[in-house]
Symmetry: C2
Subunit: 431 residues, 2 copies
């Protein structure tokens, strides 16, 4: 498909300027972003001489920008949304989540992931960083629906062996342009030291980065210190876990030395403010991370702990909670937050071709409806996005050049009602 967007405002995220002009998509990539003047010359220069537009979309002054990157989630947990709220993290995990998850199979996770994908699209999320139980069926759901998906293994003492992770690493990184796969583990507190050493060795074998839940709660950090005499970050670093980079999800309780380790290995912090709020885990020191120059990306976490997959909620929370934490209303400004939700997410997920809107980049693009009362007046579009934006403003979500959501309607090949029905059948069958 060749699609021409015109009459657009464009926030490329290369800088904070808003360009008025056009954006052209040829198949899966962006071919042109500019003011759209003298386009005959532009056509020639780009060797697009005989291009035929499948669609020409009048943006009517609405905003094109890179899609949001949800840099930490567990998509398949949709079945537990609103199932067991208002419980502390360890209770919730051990007494509600784990027993229910034990009953899941790959087919169920396939359907539950599809439900999550619908929701990502409504929030302008064009790539997800997913850790869940059956990577093969998650991959299948994502490829079928056209979602870009970076997966990461969630190794732990009760799951499949590291050999399985290696197999998936080799297979899922070659399967489809929409997919990639990283080495990872659930968390220090669900892995033996031997298992952690195995994972570090696998990372060394492939010179591959490693990701895990790190220092999500105070208890987690304290118990790790009791076990090993050091924080989770220091323990993992001592095992050589971060020699090839990677990052941590949550990172609510990193101390100065932990941050130095993150900086030294260029690790990403993926912050999950909705989940940390709902589970009362605490507020991550985002201002400190930014001051240290650590790459900070944003994740929704899974729909059982958030409970929604909404980047607008997360963006407001990132800055709002930082302001509360620092008692400083100037903490973490809107532009920093927008970068986290886009460019920094691409960095954390190793998706360099999705970070900004520019010729040659992948066409992972969203259109934001500015003709809505919460986006008016147009005093400052970036601040409007972060401080008053909502899912309701997502007018279009395009991944890899395909429009998957537009004007409140999903791609016509999706069986939306069938997906809802399946999700309800699954949770009702498991109760």
């Amino acid at each position: 498909m060749n699609i021409r967007f015109y009459n657009a405002r464009i926030l490329t995220m290369q800088d904070d300027k808003i360009t008025e002009g056009e954006l052209w998509v040829q198949n899966e990539r962006i071919r042109y972003v500019g003011d759209g003047k003298d386009t005959d010359g532009v056509y020639e220069k780009l060797s697009l001489g005989s291009i035929v537009w499948d669609r020409e979309i009048d943006c009517r002054g609405n905003l094109l920008m890179p899609g949001f990157k949800d840099a930490h989630t567990h998509s398949g947990m949709t079945f537990l949304r609103s199932y067991a709220d208002d419980l502390p993290l360890q209770d919730w995990l051990n007494n509600q989540v784990f027993p229910m998850e034990a009953k899941l199979d790959g087919e169920m996770i396939y359907h539950l992931t599809k439900l999550a994908i619908l929701e990502y699209l409504t929030s302008g999320i064009t790539a997800i960083f997913d850790m869940y139980l059956t990577p093969e069926t998650i991959a299948q759901a994502c490829v079928e629906m056209g979602m870009r998906c970076v997966q990461v293994s969630g190794e732990n003492n009760f799951g499949p062996a590291t050999a399985v992770t290696e197999e998936r690493f080799l297979k899922l990184n070659k399967m489809d342009p929409l997919l990639s796969f990283f080495i990872g583990f659930h968390a220090e507190y669900t892995c033996s030291k031997e298992l952690l050493e195995e994972i570090a060795a696998l990372s060394h074998k492939y010179k591959a980065p490693v990701y895990a839940h790190i220092s999500e709660t105070k208890t987690e950090v304290e118990e790790c210190k009791e076990r090993y005499g050091m924080s989770p970050v220091k323990l993992l670093d001592s095992l050589g876990m971060f020699e090839y980079g990677g990052g941590g999800y949550h990172c609510v309780y990193l101390d100065e030395e932990d941050m130095e380790i993150f900086k030294k290995h260029d690790l990403s912090v993926v912050t999950n403010p909705g989940s940390n709020t709902k589970l009362a885990s605490g507020i991550a020191p985002i201002s400190d991370y930014l001051r240290k120059g650590i790459n900070v990306a944003i994740g929704t976490d899974g729909p059982a702990s958030n409970n929604c997959l909404d980047m607008f909620r997360e963006m407001f929370l990132v800055t709002g909670l930082a302001k509360l934490r620092e008692q400083d209303a100037s903490a973490v400004d809107a532009w920093e937050v927008l970068k986290m939700a886009t460019v920094n997410g691409s960095k954390a997920m190793n998706l360099p071709d999705t970070d900004v809107l520019a010729a040659g980049k992948l066409a992972d693009i969203i259109m934001i409806d500015l003709q809505q009362p919460n986006m008016q007046p147009l005093n400052h579009i970036a601040r409007n996005l972060v401080y008053s934006g909502s899912k309701q403003n997502v007018k279009m979500t395009m991944i890899q050049g395909r429009i998957l959501y537009e004007d409140g309607r999903f791609a016509k090949e999706y069986d939306t009602e069938g997906i809802y029905r399946k999700a309800n059948e699954i949770i009702n069958g498991l109760r």
Copy 2:
């Protein structure tokens, strides 16, 4: 207009049960809520024998519930949305807000209020508790657009005299069924003691409740203690301000004695978590208020400090911030929050006919789209609303029996584009 809703799920808010059935609206009131069986008999019993439906709406299993009550806002501040973010409250007020507001006139506020009304409707807000500069033109905007509006005077040392408040009190309480008007003042720190005494006297004259911003910041409380040797609540109580009830906006820093005063006079706390977060004011002790049995309602505050008028954001923040504050993921459950956003708001705003869905009540009703991924599966609808709900789920907003927003479109008599254009003209003219 007589409107019949059928195939509905109905959350009346009288209790937490979901009824499947019908809801009938005759002109401005609800005539029937029930399972819709044997409706011939029901027609007769209700003397609706010859009723002719202007519309019969198939709800397709979607949810009807009472509209949200936004119990504290400054609608006209839409012009400052995203204009001066990332500043501490006192700087923001004194150096940005007050100088810009000084340039506003009633006609501007009329147009700016209209922009806010559009946004309320998109969030299912059917009544607002508005404190702003020109009550007459705010009233005009609300009546023209069909918004229910409780206004309150924002008296302070620089504004019009108490005699003007009295005039407005007498006039605006009689002007239109959609309107009412309360006595109020901006805050202790912007009123002399003499002015506060005048306001208390006016309240006594009409046996009328009084509302104000109270204990929004730590600084405000400390400075009041320096001035008067007591907290704002105790000072106001000592002046007889609360003899006829009323309430406080924000109430982030009430101590035990303050809470006792609130309880004694049956005052309402109107919490504004979005604004308190963005301005780094702090987290209100909502769990304590509930434990004391104080009526807690929710407000968005104005769009310059929030920056949006979205009850879904506020609902998540009320419970989320309480969980963080108490370090307890079970703090303030979803049902409590839903009550705050509906029934408790009606109580705070003295709108008893808008609190629940029942025969005889005013038809201030919203329809929530459950056929959206963030509302699936249907494990628990009340939790879905609070934890994963969004503006995007608001399928219809009805006030006083009139549908003002439906399927993403505003009432056709609204000049939506004209309202946006005006708001931009106003801020551009004032810069």
